[in-house]
Subunit: 332 residues, 2 copies
DNA sequence: ACACTATCAGCATACGTATGCACACAATGC
DNA sequence: GCATTGTGTGCATACGTATGCTGATAGTGT
C-alpha cells in the first residue's frame, strides 16, 4: 500500500541501502545512480517514513510545545516557534496542560526530541522529571523552580519596577494591583518589582489593594469589583498582564468610570490589542515573539548539544499611551 | 540508556512479547505475571516507545492540525480539538501553512493518521493530494473545492442572509461590505448570503461598496478608509468576520465616528471580544468550539473507519448587541 | 492412567530506515 | 602484470513494539 525505500530500490535496481544514501545526499553514491534513484522515487511518489527514520536514528526532529491553552497569551507564540523550528528542520507537537494532569508519559515516549515549557508553575514536578530522564527542554516566559535548564524570559522585575515608578512619578499614592497566580514566576517577579518601586518611594502595597486570580480578562473585571468599591479606592492600578488590564478597562467602560481621570491603569506584555484605539493601554513591552524564536533556537542547540543552560533575559520597555496619567485633583 | 520492553522482560523474567501483552491488558496473560510485569515496568520507569509501536501497528495516534497561524481565529480552536483528540487517545501535531508552501510531505510521511484542514483555499491542491494518497482528513470551518471529504462548517449563507435582512429591516439602503479573500469558501458563502438578502429587498451591492482583503483587524481599518470617504458612504457595513468588524470599530473610534448612529456595523463569528463593553458588536454566532470538537470526532471516526464523508452544517444565530441600529435621520 | 482440551508464555518475524562492514571493481604505480 | 589504493554498492543488522504461531504445562473427563 505505502511506498517504501525497498520499492524504490527494486525499481531503480539498487539495494535499499543505496536508496537511503542516495536520497540523503551521501557523497559515496555516484551521480548517475543518485539520479536513477531520485527518478524512481519520484515515479513512485516515495515519501520517507518518519517512523522508520526516527526508530533508526533515535531522533524524531519533533519538539513539544507545552502550555495551558486556556491562556490565550501563548497562542500567539505558536507561529514564531513553528517557523523557527521549521527553519531548523523540526516540527511541532502541541501538548495542552490542564492543571495537574500528567503529561509526563507523552513527553517521555520518545515521540519528541525536546520540549518548550511555557506555562510551568513554580511547584511543577514535570521539569525535574524531564531532567531526570534527560529530555532536553527550555522554559519560555515563565520559569519553574530551581531546575538546571535554559530559560528565556523578560526582565519582569525591571519592567514592573518601571511601571511602579511611572505611577509614583505621576503623584499617585493609593495604588492597587491585580495579579496572576502566586505559583508562577511571572507573578512573583512582577509583583516583587512593583513592590520594590513603591518601597523606594516609601509606599506600601496593602493586601486589601491586591487582587489575585488568573491571567485573564475575567480577572480584570473581578479585580475592578474587588478594589474599586472601597471609599479609599486606588487612583492607579497595576495589572500583571494586558488581558487583566483590558478586562479592567472594559468593566470601567461599562460602569462609566473614566480612565485615566478616575483611575489610571497600566498593563504588562504589550499585546497587539493594547494599541487599539478602544484601549490605548499604557503597558510594559514584553518581547514575546523574539523570545519565542530564541527559545526554539536554544532548545535545538541543546538537542544538538551545541548549547549550554543559561538564563536568557530580554529587556522590557515602558510603552506610554493613554491609560496612565496624573490623578485628578479630586482623587489625589 | 532508554528503557525498552526487553529490559522490563529481563527483570520480570518473561519474554518481551509477554511484556507487550501484559501492559496492553491482553487477557491471555495471567494476573500474576501481569502484576510482575507491571511492577518491573514501574521499577524501571518504562514508557512505551511511540515510534516502535507506530512502526509495528502502522498507526501513530497523532493527527495534524493544518492552519494559517496568521489567522488568530483558529488559535482558539486548538484547545477544543486537543481535548477531543486526547479523550479518544490521539495527539496533535501543528502544521502551519504559509500561502503555497508545500506541506504535502510532512503529512504523507506516515507521522500522522489524519489531518484537520482549517484554512484551506478553494483552489488548494492539498486535499486532492491527500485523497489520492488516502490520508483521512476533514475540513473545518472552511471547505476546499469539490473533494470527497467530510466537512464541518457553519451555515454561512444563512447567517449572512440574516445579517443582511437585519440591516434592511432597520431601513438601511446604502449598505457596504468588508470581506475576506475570494478564494475561501467562507467568503464566497457569506458574500452570497448577504447579496441574497439585498436582492430579495430589491437592493444591490455595488463593487464600490465592497472592500476585500484578509480576515483580520487591519482589513477593518483599511475598509473604513476605502468605503467611508465617499459622499454617499454606506450607513451600514457588513463585515465578513469579527476581527474585521472590530478593526472597523477601532478606526471609527479613532476618527470620532459614532457607531451605530453614524454607521451601523455587523460582524460574523461572535468571538469572545465581540461581547466586550468596548465593542458590543452585533454579530452572527458561529459555533466554532462545538464545530471543532465535532471535526476532531469525525476525523477519528473516519480513521477508525466507522464514519462516512458527510457535510456537517451547524446553524448560526444572530446576536443583537449595540452596533446595529436604525440609520439616523441625517444619513437615511 | 490415558487422551484431550484449555491456558499461558515464548519464538520468530514484521514494520521502514540507517549504517558499519565487507566486497567487487577500476585505476594507478612500480 | 602484480600489488595497492580508492571508489561505489550490497549485506546484514539495529532501532522498539506487536502478533501469529508453536509449544509447554496443567486441568478435565473417562
Amino acid at each position: 500500500m505505502t511506498v517504501t525505500s525497498h520499492d524504490v530500490a527494486r525499481l531503480a535496481r539498487v539495494s535499499q541501502a543505496t536508496v537511503s544514501r542516495a536520497l540523503r545526499g551521501d557523497p559515496r553514491v555516484t551521480e548517475t545512480t543518485r539520479m536513477r534513484v531520485r527518478e524512481a522515487a519520484a515515479t513512485l511518489g516515495y515519501v520517507r517514513s518518519e517512523l522508520g527514520r526516527g526508530l533508526s536514528t533515535r531522533a524524531t526532529h519533533r519538539i513539544a510545545l507545552v502550555a495551558e491553552l486556556e491562556n490565550t497569551l501563548y497562542h500567539q507564540l505558536m507561529a514564531p516557534i513553528h517557523d523557527e523550528l521549521l527553519e531548523r528542520g523540526y516540527r511541532m507537537a502541541l501538548l495542552a496542560e490542564h492543571g495537574d494532569e500528567a503529561i509526563h508519559e507523552r513527553l517521555l515516549d520518545r515521540s519528541v526530541d525536546g520540549a518548550i515549557l511555557m506555562t510551568t508553575r513554580l511547584d511543577a514536578t514535570l521539569p525535574y522529571e524531564l531532567a531526570r530522564r534527560s529530555l532536553p527542554f527550555v522554559f519560555l516566559n515563565r520559569i519553574g523552580g530551581p531546575v538546571e535548564a535554559p530559560s528565556v524570559t523578560a526582565d519582569n522585575v525591571g519592567g514592573s519596577r518601571a511601571a511602579g515608578e511611572l505611577l509614583i512619578g505621576l503623584g499617585h499614592t493609593r495604588i492597587g494591583a491585580i495579579v496572576g497566580p502566586a505559583d508562577t514566576s511571572t507573578s512573583r517577579d512582577r509583583e516583587a518589582g512593583f513592590r520594590d518601586a513603591l518601597e523606594d518611594a516609601g509606599l506600601v502595597l496593602p493586601s486589601k489593594r491586591v487582587f489575585r486570580r488568573e491571567y485573564d480578562h475575567e480577572t480584570g473585571r473581578l479585580g475592578f469589583a474587588a478594589l474599586m468599591a472601597a471609599d479609599d479606592a486606588p487612583s492607579a492600578i497595576f495589572c500583571a498582564n494586558d488581558f487583566i488590564a483590558i478586562g479592567f478597562l472594559n468593566r470601567a467602560l461599562e460602569l462609566g468610570i473614566t480612565v485615566p481621570d478616575d483611575v489610571a491603569v497600566i498593563g504588562f506584555d504589550d499585546i497587539d490589542m493594547a494599541a487599539w484605539p478602544a484601549f490605548e493601554l499604557t503597558t510594559v513591552r514584553n518581547p514575546l515573539l523574539a523570545m519565542a524564536r530564541r527559545a526554539a533556537g536554544t532548545l535545538i542547540d541543546l538537542i544538538e548539544s551545541t548549547g549550554a543552560a543559561e538564563r536568557d533575559v530580554f529587556p522590557t520597555q515602558l510603552v506610554l499611551r493613554r491609560t496612565h496619567g496624573a490623578p485628578s485633583e479630586s482623587t489625589a
